[in-house]
């Protein structure tokens, strides 16, 4: 009898172990791709480019890309959505192409798919994302009104917003308009690099347009702070990159090969915006119609540098009017640990001053991973999630909800 119990016991143990071992587990279903929104284009002839010379208004009809949320139907009456404007930065690399423009700046970072995912998961509300082309012949806009480069501050604020809110059905490629919520509380603006500078500047000068503003690694403190010299840190890099050691070489510089010279593109673009100069100007680069804020030794040229500093948002913070505007604005700032132009440090200088002034803002920082490219645009795809979530908190939908 005893051996029978043993046999039964051993058999049961064997059956249990074998049964457990044979259990087949079902894998969780891999999530399917969320419904995809569309990116539509239209072109707009900006008033702000009218009247500039033939080089600069060569392509006055600029493209604007617009992300529309999944299911949005241009042809049917439906709900209206809030709008986020993303101003492009530009690259001091062969990628930049004036003829084509840079409205694809955020599309290259797959912004549409990021928005799809967040909308599908309910993390953000459906929205439009407007991505204008802000390229200029020397590189990218710095979003101030310039007699040479165009009135980019006006164009990217009142003019573009009005255009988007009143877009007619015949102007879009798809043959329909955009059903936007035309109110400050339903508009937001943001940008990366020079685009971030533009977003903050436009939010400071157009208080009635946008309910929230964000910037990633933006040049917000031209003169730096403390021991950090701001944009001046790059003067020598420009001279070295261009092989300039004499006054003759300094004057002889031109746009040849500038697409492979990132510092040249940066300074030409800024100079076209902040310090355009007639061909006869003593301190200017005659052929280019610009003046640089440093000489061939890299020493500051005060007369030009001071013009640049009038566009320095760090200094604007000394003005009580701008302080009050930002105190009432929803502001998000991001800085990386690896921006080759050191715009990340300029953003951090700006953040420190905001803190000193008691102006609230939503800070965020990010790092590169080992082996990745040392440019903050490399991680735009990842940061867009944070940017979209931030703006969503401050965008009012058609039901008045945030």
């Amino acid at each position: 009898m005893k051996s029978v119990y043993r046999i039964i016991g051993i058999s049961l143990l064997a059956i249990i172990i074998l049964s457990v071992g044979c259990v087949k587990r079902d894998n969780p279903v891999v999530p399917e791709a969320p419904p995809a929104g569309l990116v539509a284009w239209f072109t707009h002839q900006y008033d702000g480019l009218t009247g500039t010379n033939s080089i600069w208004n060569r392509y006055p009809a600029r493209r604007v890309a617009v992300y529309t949320p999944p299911g949005y139907d241009f042809e049917k009456i439906g709900p209206r959505y809030p709008t986020l404007y993303l101003l492009p930065g530009f690259d001091g690399e062969p990628s930049f192409n004036f003829e084509y423009g840079n409205e694809t700046y955020y599309m290259a970072a797959s912004v549409a798919r990021v928005a799809d995912r967040l909308i599908a998961s309910g993390e953000i509300k459906p929205l439009f994302i407007v991505m204008p082309d802000a390229a200029i012949p020397y590189g990218g806009s710095f979003y101030a009104n310039s007699t040479l480069a165009g009135k980019w501050e006006d164009m990217m604020s009142v003019e573009l917003v009005h255009k988007i809110d009143t877009l007619t059905t015949t102007e879009t490629r798809t043959g329909s308009g955009l059903r936007t919520l035309a109110a400050k509380e339903s508009r937001a603006i943001g940008g990366h690099s020079s685009g971030g500078y533009g977003a903050i500047r436009i939010a400071m000068t157009n208080d009635s347009l946008f309910g929230s503003v964000s910037a990633i690694d933006a040049p917000l403190a031209f003169d730096g702070s403390g021991s950090f010299g701001g944009i001046k840190e790059l003067f020598s890099a420009y001279l070295e990159e261009s092989g300039i050691a004499t006054e003759e070489q300094y004057q002889a510089t031109d746009t040849a090969g500038f697409r492979t010279q990132p510092n040249k593109i940066l300074f030409y673009s800024m100079a076209a915006t902040y310090s355009p100069a007639p061909k006869t100007a003593a301190e200017g680069l005659g052929n280019l119609q610009i003046s640089l804020p440093f000489d061939y030794h890299g020493n500051v040229v005060d007369s030009v540098w001071n013009r640049w500093l009038t566009n320095d948002l760090y200094r604007w913070l000394d003005d009580a009017t701008y302080q009050n505007i930002l105190k009432n604005q929803n502001l998000h700032l991001e800085s990386s640990d690896h921006d080759v132009n050191m715009f990340n440090q300029q953003t951090q200088s700006f953040e420190q001053k905001l803190t000193t002034l008691g102006i609230d803002y939503d800070p965020s920082a990010f790092s590169k991973y080992e082996g990745s490219d040392a440019r903050s645009r490399t991680f735009l795809y990842d940061r867009l999630e944070y940017i979209l979530k931030f703006h969503d908190k401050h965008l009012r939908d058609r039901d008045g909800k945030y």
């Binding site: 172990i17 894998n27 690399e93 970072a109 490399t378 735009l380």
Partner: protein, 488 residues
């Protein structure tokens, strides 16, 4: 049964089993139902056919000719929760999702046939066949994110590894000194099989800003399927210290197996029309076409052949068997395995034939490179203890335990070899003697693996590919072994 028929049956079984021999765990926990029931503490015993695996010297104490046929069923149950990120940035792995292996039960087998010629009572010879190594995992751990490519999707079988080594071991053993000392020698003819499907992340070869995320890495799925042969040796010695105590030791040499077979490489290019017409200069138009083609979301690839060398580790084991009475055996083994000799897989591809008829670019071609899988494993020990108790003339009960350290460091741990950590083998079994010629043995084994969490991706050989796999890994294995012994 005639001797020739038994020999023929052994050969047939060996050939048939070689194709079906699959199980979990790279070095299998042991072979033979009696030995496994005792936790593999068998170097001081090894007195049956399959003992040739543990200690060829033990065969010298065979009392009769013996034929053994063993079947094993192994049911590994691995679980992976990927967290394949660098500084928080993901790359398409199913991060945070608990993923199970393709749960299945695998059959493997062993057989042996040994003779004791009547004219020489001190000499035994024969053939043993067994599978000492196996790893078999199939998992779906990666999907192309819509942000990377919304046009196509990668195969669900994107992380599969099946590595086997089966061994034919002709063995001879002899005893000396009034039956107190025995030595045995086995020639190991090893067949190694490799089947791999594996995603690896290739650096985007194009310059900034074409390489911004999520396009900083391109997704490659490479597959290899092949086999090869190598030789080694297994030598052992046993010494009967007293009628109650036997000690044994064996040494298994390293064995290099050169494996060749078929290969397939595929790179899933990204899709993003935001890069279209990025370069408009007439001088750059050819480059523009290449960029446009690259970001159209196509799958490019080739078929070809590959070769790789698999170097099995040597190991040295010692053990004892103590008979406190006629019905009881207590045994223990300690095995030192030189896993550091299992150096790496250098998979070299050759004779590639691209599947692209036209519009193929040199930059694309350069992305298809050989695969280096560094191991940098550490030498480790296994400790086993076993107990056998004869209850009556028919029934024998057995139990055992094995402590088995993982040689795999975090820096090279991946799903290729899911040896997640220290393993605890719990074994139990029984033997049933039908008559003087036929007996049966059975063993059950539960292998509990320590879990492992990889939180930092590393590139130990600086070839721009990460060599480990971020995430949390668990494993559990259920094994059963069933044996028929025929003495004649």
């Amino acid at each position: 049964m005639e001797l020739r028929k038994v020999a023929l049956l052994t050969l047939i079984v060996a050939v048939l089993m070689s194709g079906a021999a699959l199980a979990g765990g790279w070095q299998y926990s042991g072979v033979g139902a009696r030995a496994k029931a005792m936790g593999g503490a068998y170097r001081g015993i090894a007195d049956d056919g399959i003992g040739a695996y543990y200690n060829p010297a033990g065969l010298a104490f065979l009392q009769q000719n013996i034929f053994n046929l063993t079947g094993e069923v192994s049911s590994p149950r691995p679980t992976a929760t990927p967290d394949f990120k660098a500084k928080g940035y993901g790359f398409g792995y199913l991060d945070g999702q608990k993923r199970y292996g393709k749960d299945a039960s695998y059959l493997m087998g062993e057989a042996s046939l040994f003779f004791r010629p009547k004219k020489d009572n001190n000499f035994v010879f024969g053939l043993a066949f067994f599978q000492g190594y196996d790893q078999n995992t199939t998992m779906n751990l990666y999907q192309l994110s819509p942000a990377y490519n919304s046009k196509i999707q990668i195969s669900d079988v994107n992380h599969r590894s099946n590595f086997d080594v089966i061994t034919w071991q002709p063995t001879a053993a002899m005893k000396f000194s009034h039956d107190r000392v025995a030595v045995g020698v086995g020639l190991q003819i090893n067949r190694g099989d490799i089947l791999v499907d594996q995603v690896r992340l290739v650096d985007n070869p194009y310059p900034y800003p074409l390489n911004v995320r999520p396009y900083d890495k391109f997704a490659e799925l490479y597959s290899v399927d092949g086999y090869g042969f190598g030789v080694g040796a297994n030598v052992g010695v046993q010494f009967k210290v007293s009628p109650k105590l036997t000690i044994g030791a064996n040494y298994v040499s390293t064995s290099k197996i050169k494996i060749t077979g078929d290969s397939k490489e595929r790179i899933y290019l990204p899709f993003n029309d935001g890069f279209a017409h990025l370069y408009m200069d007439p001088q750059a138009s050819a480059y523009q076409r290449e960029v446009d083609s690259t970001y159209k979301g196509a799958m490019i690839g080739n078929t070809g052949e590959f070769e790789v060398e698999m170097k099995l580790p040597s190991e040295f084991g010692v053990g004892f068997a103590y008979h406190p009475n006629e019905k009881t055996i207590v045994s223990a083994d300690l095995v030192y395995t030189r896993w550091s000799e299992f150096q790496d897989f250098q998979i070299k591809f050759k004779n590639r034939v691209t599947n692209q008829k036209q519009g193929y670019f040199a930059t694309w071609d350069a992305m298809f490179t050989d695969v280096a899988v560094p191991f940098q494993w550490k030498d480790k020990i296994k400790i086993s203890i076993g107990l056998e108790k004869i209850l009556n003339e028919r029934w024998t009960y057995r139990g055992g335990y094995m402590f088995d350290q993982s040689p795999v460091p975090d820096e090279t741990f991946s799903q290729l070899f899911l040896d997640t950590g220290t393993k605890h083998h719990f074994n139990a079994g029984a033997g049933f003697k039908l008559n003087e010629r036929i007996s049966f043995d059975a063993a059950l084994e539960l292998v509990v693996f320590s879990s492992r969490t990889i939180s930092t991706l590393t590139d130990v050989n600086d070839d721009q590919y990460w060599d480990n796999f971020g995430g949390e890994f668990k494993n559990l294995s259920f094994n059963s072994t069933w044996a028929l012994n025929y003495r004649f």
